[in-house]
């Protein structure tokens, strides 16, 4: 066990966990931030995507010891009122089916748009192919990313 001082969604948190604990489980089990989802645990599905200093990472494979010095953003902190362009576009296109993968999809999309404000289809495919949607909302996600890029 070790103590970690974290900066999550602009707020300071302190947790006492094993240093190998993946950030995903610190968020979910220790900080009650449940928006970040568990899908595979091996960085293959993207459900657990969060931002570390603005970069999309898979929190299920990122030990808490690695993120201590960085600024973490989760879906809960993507915007204050749920009005990040990606969130607005997701609603406009009524993207979610079951919705389980969508927090991860949106976090990947938001990170993409930050660096590539006008992504091409290939940019989108490259940035998003680590995020699985079993419900098959890919076409709408792509449309929503394009809409978000104009908001």
């Amino acid at each position: 066990m070790a103590t970690f001082n974290l900066n999550i969604n602009g707020q300071k948190h302190q947790v006492d966990v094993d240093p190998s604990t993946p950030t995903l489980w610190v968020l979910r089990d220790h900080l009650n931030l449940l928006g970040t989802k568990f899908g595979c645990g091996i960085a293959q599905c993207g459900a657990c995507t969060i931002h570390l200093d603005g970069v999309a990472i898979r929190s299920c494979m990122t030990p808490i010891s690695v993120v201590e010095d960085g600024a973490i953003t989760t879906i809960e902190g993507l915007s204050k009122d749920g009005d990040h362009p990606v969130q607005k576009a997701w609603l406009e296109h009524d993207v979610p089916q079951c919705g389980y993968c969508q927090a991860g999809q949106m976090m990947s999309a938001a990170a993409l748009l930050k660096n590539t404000p006008n992504p091409s289809d290939t940019d989108i495919d490259d940035a998003m192919s680590g995020n699985i949607c079993r419900c098959g909302t890919y076409v709408r996600i792509k449309q929503a990313i394009k809409t978000a890029s104009k908001l």
Binding site: V17, G39, I42, W90, D94, P96, G99, I132, R134
Partner: protein, 731 residues
């Protein structure tokens, strides 16, 4: 207007009316209701008092309306579309509607399950009746208030008005007086032509919560004092747990307890499918510590059955197709003679492997079992079945078991099976407190309940004029065959035979989105493409000829589809896709299928990019009767197309020594963004037929249209799924 008898539901309506004010449905507000994307300021004020009108409707004194959505929400969007149907007949302004998930309550609701694309189809009348009954009671209350007849009043958008007068009153103002009104014996339903809400695109009522990461799912459920649990089941089918290093595990950091549970129940039903009733359970405070404990497990697994491999399965299917046990068959005319006389005969065999459901939310469930009660909360497609099985497991009367549904991170049939709920209950009983059980992806992917493995052989005979005169299909599966003997082309071919054949396996299987249809549609529609080619006919015209025969001069006593609706979707997709138009570099495949009472035809446009086939566009035409929520309905069809193409292309489970080789998404491939169709356009046939299923019918034709487009693009026919495995042309 249609008159409809309410008797069927009278008992339950009366029950809830009597309980009005008593808050029969209150108590499941751990997730507050959700507003359909309305900005709070546009909505009427939060009521001081609520009035229960019936099991589906609660009206507040300000006019805010709460509608209860009875069925599990697995992504098929019933939480929006079911209340829409109530709201339509109740005639309220959707912007003042709040939706809440109803608990399992067999006294109030019927068919509270999510499966077989049945939610809307089975509840269409009940939902309309609930709304219409509420509207009628409000009207009667207003009539009484003003000393008028109901026929003197109109009700629309939550306001009741006098026809020949100035007076008006809102539902919110009169709701309190409607509570005592006797439930009408007969109510008027709207003429579909007068629908205001049904047929418009309403956004997902939980959309805002989903995009802001609110805790909606079973995995997110929390309870004061709750512990966490994980399980370890035997690594292979045919194995059973004997013992494990219990003391060592119990001593690990964060582990509170570890033991073996047994979830065997008496008289199991179909939803109790489970290859591993005995498993190791570990209880603790944090998921990561439990995962570490799982890794440290040293278990003694006993071999109690055959350890099957993919080779075993292939041999069994070979044998089954030669002399397996026929479960169901149909014979029209004499195929043997007809094949002999035929000018051209073609025979092809198709196959598809075992597949996992892989809902993105892994299995989980919350349970709190005490000496005389059991409370379960979580993602289940069959709350009623779970309630029954838990009652059996705990030897408790049914009334002592409650089941509440959370939003569900994918169903696809996986959560029709209730074992994970039972496991949570067994663990909670053992530890004597509330617990949330969570599976890892590996636990889930190796647990079973898989889509069965299938192989079918199709044979067709053409006469010298290239008419289809003989058709036969023999289809085998482990543990059951994929064939629907009375579906198309039954009824359309003079000499026809179909055999559905079963063979044994100890791999546990279950329903998987569009059971059997997902495979049979692809095989049959790819085969018909080849037959049409052999006949020198356009694939759509060839099918239309067959439907024509089924309409004008049907063969045999019955067949299970409406040929004109089947033909209808083909004609619609033909028109919308400009079928027949040649676009250089664009290769097209078509398929159509009927299942779950709905008809879907699809055309796939494929292009070659850097030597790889890419699905550029998919055109879909669907006939599912009245479309309740068109944009959401399109979403369902689009998802089905992606699912159908993705699984046909990439997914499979193989076995060695009883264990699946694929345990997670590094080896089990699901379609990803870059592989998905670039565009999917969906069109609906417009009619006033009562709505039928949509969750599944979009999927089956996709693999057929894919195979047919792949042939045009590459010159190769693909018979065995996943198409990428024997011919690595994609990905």
């Amino acid at each position: 207007m249609t008159k409809i008898q309410t008797q069927f539901n009278r008992r339950s309506f009366i029950k809830i009316s009597a309980a009005a004010g008593g808050g029969m449905l209150i108590g499941f507000n751990w997730l507050a209701g959700c507003t359909p994307g309305t900005k709070p300021e546009e909505m009427v004020a939060v009521p001081n008092e609520w009035f229960d009108i019936n099991g589906y409707i609660k009206i507040g004194d300000t006019g805010m309306v709460t509608l209860y959505s009875p069925n599990p929400e697995i992504g098929q969007n019933v939480m929006t579309s079911m209340p829409m149907i109530v709201a339509e007949e109740l005639d309220v302004d959707w912007k003042n509607v709040v939706v809440e998930q109803a608990p399992l309550n067999t006294g109030l609701y019927q068919n509270q399950f999510a499966g077989g694309s049945l939610s809307i189809r089975l509840s269409w009348n009940a939902l309309r009746m609930a709304g219409a009954t509420g509207r009628r009671m409000l009207l009667e209350a207003a009539a009484k208030e003003w000393n008028l007849q109901v026929s003197d009043l109109t009700a629309s958008q939550g306001v009741i008005k006098e026809k020949n007068g100035e007076r008006s009153i809102t539902y919110g103002e009169i709701a309190g007086k409607a509570v005592g009104i006797e439930v009408p014996e007969e109510v008027d339903l709207k003429d579909p032509k007068d629908f205001k809400l049904i047929g418009t695109s309403i956004k997902n009522v939980e959309g805002k919560k989903i995009v802001t990461g609110k805790p909606l799912f079973g995995i997110d459920y929390q309870r004061e004092g709750m512990q966490l649990a994980m399980i370890e089941h035997p690594p292979a089918f045919g194995m059973k747990v004997k013992s494990f290093n219990e003391e060592e595990i119990k001593n690990m950091a964060g582990v509170n307890d570890a033991f073996i549970i047994d979830t065997t129940i008496k008289e199991p039903t179909w939803s109790d499918v489970n290859a591993f009733p005995q498993l190791i359970a570990i209880v603790g405070d944090s998921t990561w510590q439990l995962m570490q404990a799982k890794k440290a497990l040293k278990a003694d697994w006993e071999v109690v059955g055959e350890l099957e491999s993919s080779e075993t399965h292939a041999k069994r299917l070979d044998k089954a197709l030669i002399n397996g046990e026929v479960e169901e068959a149909r014979n029209d005319g004499n195929v043997a003679v007809a094949f002999k006389k035929a000018a051209k005969v073609i025979e092809r065999t198709y196959s598809s492997p075992f597949m996992a459901h892989n809902t993105m939310e892994p299995m989980n469930f919350f349970a709190n079992v005490t000496a005389d009660s059991a409370e379960l909360v979580g993602p289940t497609q069959t709350p009623e079945a779970l309630e029954g099985s838990v009652a059996k497991l705990l030897n408790m009367p049914l009334e002592k078991v409650t089941v509440n549904m959370t939003r569900i991170g994918g169903g696809f049939g996986r959560r029709l099976y209730v074992h994970f709920g039972l496991e949570a209950a067994a663990i909670s009983r053992k530890i004597g407190g509330p617990v949330k059980l969570l599976y890892t992806r590996e636990d889930d992917m190796s647990q079973g309940t898989y889509r069965p493995i299938y192989r079918s052989t199709y044979k067709a005979g053409l006469d010298e004029n290239n008419n289809l005169v003989a058709f036969s299909v023999k289809g085998a599966g482990l543990p059951g065959g994929p064939v629907f003997p009375n579906r198309f082309p039954a009824g359309a071919v003079e000499n026809y035979s179909a055999e559905k054949i079963k063979a044994a396996t100890n791999i546990s299987t279950g329903a998987w989105r569009a059971p059997r249809s997902h495979f049979t549609a692809g095989a049959e529609q790819a085969f018909l493409d080849e037959v049409a080619e052999l006949a020198g006919k356009d694939p759509i015209d060839f099918r239309l000829e067959l439907f024509d025969r089924a309409i004008k001069d049907p063969v045999g006593e019955k067949y299970e589809y409406e040929a004109d609706r089947y033909a209808g979707v083909l004609k619609l997709v033909k028109e919308k896709s400009n079928w027949g138009e040649k676009k250089p570099g664009v290769f097209r495949g078509v398929a159509a299928y009927f299942c779950h009472f709905s008809y879907v035809a699809e055309v796939i446009d494929m292009v070659m990019e850097n030597g790889q086939p890419v699905v550029q566009k998919v055109w879909c035409a669907a006939d599912c009767g009245i479309v309740v929520n068109p944009d959401a309905a399109k979403n369902m069809i689009q998802g089905g197309v992606v699912d159908g193409i993705g699984h046909a292309m990439y997914s499979q489970l193989t076995f060695e020594n009883g264990a699946p080789d694929q345990l997670n998404f590094d080896s089990y491939q699901l379609m990803r963004h870059s592989q998905a169709p670039k565009e999917i356009e969906v069109f609906f046939v417009e009619n006033e037929i009562a709505p039928t299923g949509l969750g599944e019918p979009g999927l089956p034709p996709a693999s057929g249209a894919l195979a047919n487009a792949l042939y045009k693009a590459t010159g190769k026919r693909h018979y065995h799924q996943p198409f990428t495995s024997n011919q690595p042309i994609v990905g």
